[in-house]
């Protein structure tokens, strides 16, 4: 067998190894129900959950708790996932400053005991994605 063939086979083997290993690291978009099931099975892998903040009838956000004077690194809120499961989420970082304005929240982390511990929060604010409105300040 020529050396170039051996090299070729080795490259292919490495490439396959990379694909398999990357697939192993890949996370999943799940619901809170699935996240709880994973935790119950003892799996600690980090997952993504997409959801919205819980709001009451008047549109006020409920269940959000952040007191920087007590602890700047402790922030909790309630997220409702796309299947309407509610879950308390804990984030050991300061509250992202735009949080209340977010349209959609993507969290990464896993269930620990009774709460979902998020490592990372991605916010989608309407202003960034929805077309802006014309301000009526200008005179006609």
């Amino acid at each position: 067998m020529k050396k170039s063939h051996i090299t070729g086979i080795a490259i292919i083997a490495l490439a396959i190894g990379i694909i398999i290993s990357s697939a192993g690291d890949a996370s999943m978009y799940v619901s809170f129900k699935e996240a709880r099931e994973l935790a119950a099975e003892g799996k600690t892998s980090k997952v993504h959950v997409v959801g919205r903040l819980k709001k009451d009838a008047q549109g006020h956000i409920v269940g959000m708790n952040y007191n920087p004077v007590m602890d700047p690194n402790y922030f909790t809120f309630v997220l409702v996932d796309t299947l309407q499961n509610e879950q308390k989420v804990v984030y050991f970082q300061p509250k992202p400053q735009d949080f209340e304005r977010s349209e959609q929240v993507v969290i990464m982390g896993n269930m620990q005991k009774d709460a979902f511990v998020a490592d990372k929060i991605l916010l989608k604010c309407p202003s960034k994605y929805v077309e802006k409105e014309i301000k009526q300040t200008a005179s006609l």
């Binding site: 490439a15 990357s22 690291d25 690194n73 970082q93 300061p94 301000k135 006609l140």
Partner: protein
């Protein structure tokens, strides 16, 4: 009045540019068709050339029209309204030009026209087939900004659309179709940074240059001239590698300096999208060099050069189609062009692959086997490592694409990007770095000599000894805590090979200097790469968060302690211990026009026009008074700077940092770091959260009667009423002869210093007015409520509020300067290589002018 002319001119130019690109592509195709390279049909070629000139002029006209719209604040156009604003300085108008997708396409198109002209003028022999490719690419790109709607089919998005046509539903246009907003919505504040003025053009120039070698390779395949394309393509490929590399690192530096994620590389899909083609480009560069020397790797060169360009197209597709939706925070929004982008990508992939497959057998390949003593062999292994590295990033970054694709064929997939991206990519890319460092050292040592066992051993001896010495040195310094201690195995291996690469390449540079031949750009740029790896290893692997919560307060929470609590709350003027420093937050500052330093917000009384303020006291810098009390100054209200004082407890040295935040109605709170540079590390700080000024809650007014000299007890402070004095200057009130105004003069003792407060009591036109004074540092507001003339007492009201605070993150990043220095060295090395390869290409083009001396030297080098 709405100026429709300029927009019509722009739009007409787009159409002309598009049509001219079609004509040029067709004409150049016909000129080259069925003839060998160099024998073009002159008539067709002239038509193609003319069409490309027309195309170029039309592109310039588009750019001028769009810039005119932005520069003259023509907010009747959507593009100006949504990307610019009245207060934007001129240099940032340039960045708002390419903030939108359309403008960045335009930038790319513009670079292609310049490169096309360069080929027409300097590569006559290759003109027809390469320009056919160029014009074909331009046809696709101009179609992206065409803005033509046929039925449901939208082709391109025009930057010249009027606001009223864009927002047909807005009620204001029903009332008045000629409505023009007074101000635009402004440029994304993150982009208001000088790096954003030069980073995008550099990156797009890099993107554009990858088209040149691609066009040569395609022309080579098409004209069955499989060999000669390498020569003109090589310097272009080097140039592309340099520009793209510098562009990527500029982006990294911008991210480091301006964004708040805490580093220079975040493995965001948008960043990866550029990194992947760059790696493949560098790999292609090496196979081309190998081919020039030993006739190996021609087919690989074809594959890599073509792949580079296709990956650039793929990157464009990824970042602009909206496919990254949930995965990236900063990809462009979807303009509904994903179908068009996909067609563009698919057309080039299919054409290039078909062409390559058809000619594959005909591309000459040498049957010679490479031995392990051939430097070419090791270069080739290096190329494999680079490609595998690129492949790995590609596989992971494309996860959202798999989801879309599976969704398209009806399978639901919920795969997501790895939760910890940095750990995921580091796992692979670290070893790619190890491979690159090792092979770049080894191959460089072997490259310049004919090798056998003893010669290899000789060449390796000195660099290896030096490597061992320096590894020991670094380890020792780590042990005595002068620098971070490298004790993780993988980091240790990386350290070892990095130092090896530096010494091996350095020894080659020295050898070449001794032999008095022109220096090897390769060796120099390899030193740069090794330095970069060294900088990355320490600054990322050993970054040290010093803002950990050490307050001693422990919060009984129901969660494990493996959580990083990396941010510290700083109340105004309170001292907090942080690493080796005592840190105090001192207040909010503004930038004032024509003043060299930031100005404390307490000195400024902001007016209704938020860009103006009145100075409450003299504003001076180094004894020179720039503004007097009562002067109106221009401020930049977008940015608030938080003054944070650091005092090193051991050395007593102090310095002040001003991390910045922008509270932008469109984007919310955007933090930018402040960096203190030391020779061996950076201290990187940024504000995570600041107390909101809008939500400030005042306690109820408490009133007290005081006589002059009396002391007023406030929560934690006390104030003395020094005097009551008449005043004639009251802000915002015009006093006439019959009016009376008095102010109370209080001295309040704060933690570090005393403050004056002057609440004012006014009687104007027989009406009483009270102008309270606020001491922001202490969270106090004093109001002069009344005068009791009988008892000679004064009624003073006090409100208190929550003290101002910020939450700060501070991280030390060791040896980060070596990363930037390495980037510079790498660029210099690549620049040297470009000059060398460009001369070579010219020498062969005109054999009579080529010096025979050079060839002798070269043969000597090889011997």
């Amino acid at each position: 009045m709405i100026n429709t002319f300029i927009g019509d001119l722009g739009h007409a130019s787009v159409i002309v540019a598009f049509v001219a690109a079609i004509v040029a592509a067709l004409a150049y195709f016909m000129a080259a068709k069925g003839r060998p390279l160099g024998e073009t049909d002159i008539n067709w070629r002239n038509l193609g050339r003319g069409a490309f000139y027309v195309h170029t002029i039309a592109v310039l006209s588009i750019i001028i029209s769009l810039f005119n719209i932005i520069y003259n604040h023509r907010y009747e156009y959507y593009y100006a309204w949504s990307h610019s604003s009245n207060y934007l300085p001129t240099h940032f108008m340039i960045s708002c030009f390419w903030e939108g997708q359309e403008g960045s396409f335009l930038l790319w198109i513009f670079w292609h026209t310049l490169l096309g002209l360069a080929i027409i003028w300097f590569n006559k022999k290759w003109e027809a087939p390469t320009m056919a490719v160029f014009a074909f690419v331009q046809l696709f790109l101009t179609s992206m900004i065409l803005g033509v709607v046929i039925g449901d089919l939208k082709i391109g998005s025009s930057p010249f659309i009027l606001l009223r046509d864009f927002m047909t539903d807005a009620p204001v246009f029903k009332l008045n179709p000629n409505f023009i907003p007074k101000d635009g919505t402004g440029l994304n504040p993150l982009l208001q940074n000088y790096w954003m003025v030069i980073h995008p053009p550099t990156l797009f120039l890099g993107f554009a240059i990858t088209l040149v070698p691609f066009a040569f390779a395609i022309a080579g395949l098409w004209k069955k001239d499989y060999i000669t394309w390498i020569k003109p393509a090589l310097p272009w490929n080097l140039f592309g590698g340099l520009v793209l590399g510098v562009g990527i690192m500029m982006g990294a530096y911008w991210a480091y300096e301006t964004l708040n994620f805490g580093g220079y590389w975040n493995w965001d899909p948008v960043e990866n999208a550029v990194y992947i083609p760059w790696l493949v480009l560098i790999a292609g560069l090496h196979t081309m060099v190998v081919y020039k020397r030993s006739k190996h790797a021609l087919r690989t060169s074809f594959v890599l050069v073509i792949t580079t360009f296709l990956l650039v197209l793929y990157a464009t597709f990824l970042t602009r189609s909206g496919i990254l939706g949930n995965a990236s925070v900063h990809s462009f929004t979807d303009l509904g062009l994903s179908g068009q982008l996909f067609a563009y990508l698919a057309a080039f992939v299919v054409l290039a692959v078909l062409l390559l497959v058809r000619h594959w057998k005909a591309i000459p390949a040498t049957e010679k086997e490479l031995t392990t003593y051939n430097s070419e062999f090791w270069v080739f292994i290096g190329v494999v490592v680079l490609c595998l590295g690129a492949f790995q990033v590609l596989v992971t970054t494309s996860i959202p694409v798999y989801n879309s694709f599976l969704g398209f064929i009806g399978i639901k997939s919920n795969m997501a990007l790895p939760a910890d991206q940095i750990a995921h990519y580091t796992k692979f890319q670290l070893w790619m770095g190890v491979g690159i460092a090792l092979l770049s050292g080894l191959a460089q040592l072997l490259w310049w000599q004919k090798n056998d066992k003893s010669k290899v051993a000789n060449a390796l001896a000195v660099p290896l000894i030096l490597t061992f010495l320096f590894v020991s040195l670094v380890y020792m310094l780590g042990k005595i805590n002068l620098i971070p201690k490298v004790d993780t195995l993988s980091y240790f291996v990386l350290l070892f090979v990095t130092l090896f690469a530096i010494f091996a390449n350095l020894s080659m540079v020295l050898t070449l200097i001794r032999r008095k031949v022109n220096l090897s750009g390769g060796a120099v740029s390899h030193i740069g790469v090794a330095l970069m790896l060294f900088g990355i290893l320490f600054s990322s692997g050993y970054s040290n968060i010093i803002s950990q919560n050490t307050s001693g307060l422990l919060y009984s929470r129901d969660f494990p302690d493996d959580i990083n609590r990396d941010n510290v709350l700083l109340f105004r003027n309170d001292k907090v211990k942080m690493g080796p420093y005592d840190v105090a937050y001192r207040g909010r500052y503004f930038e004032v026009k024509d003043f060299p330093e930031y100005v404390n917000k307490q000195l400024l009384h902001q007016l209704d026009d938020i860009h103006k303020a009145i100075a409450r006291a003299d504003i001076k810098y180094k004894d020179k008074i720039y503004f007097k009390t009562g002067d109106t100054v221009d401020i930049y209200p977008e940015n608030t700077y938080y003054q944070v004082e650091f005092k090193n407890r051991e050395t007593d040295k102090t310095f002040t940092l001003y991390p910045r935040a922008q509270v932008n109605p469109e984007m919310g709170f955007i933090a930018s770091p402040a960096i203190k540079m030391f020779a061996d590390k950076d201290l990187y700080t940024h504000v995570r959260v600041a107390a909101s000024e809008e939500d400030k809650q005042w306690s109820e007014l408490k009133e007290q009667d005081l006589a002059i000299g009396d002391t007023l007890y406030l929560n934690d402070y006390f104030a003395v009423l020094k005097n009551i004095e008449p005043t004639r200057e009251v802000k915002g009130v015009e006093l006439t002869a019959n009016d009376v105004a008095v102010q109370a003069d209080f001295i309040i003792s704060g933690e570090d210093k005393d403050y004056h407060a002057h609440p004012v009591f006014v009687i104007k036109d027989n009406l009483v007015g009270r102008i309270p004074d606020e001491v922001e540092d202490l969270g106090l507001r004093l109001t002069f409520v009344n005068i009791d003339t009988k008892n000679n007492k004064f009624k003073i009201g006090v409100n208190t509020t929550q003290k101002d605070y910020v939450i700060l993150a501070a991280v030390e990043k060791p040896f980060i300067n070596i990363l930037w220095i390495g980037t510079l060295v790498m660029s210099i090395g690549m620049g040297m290589a470009i000059i060398k390869r460009y001369k070579e290409a010219k020498v062969v083009a005109n054999p009579e002018t080529g010096s025979s001396k050079k060839r002798v030297v070269r043969n000597k080098q090889l011997a």
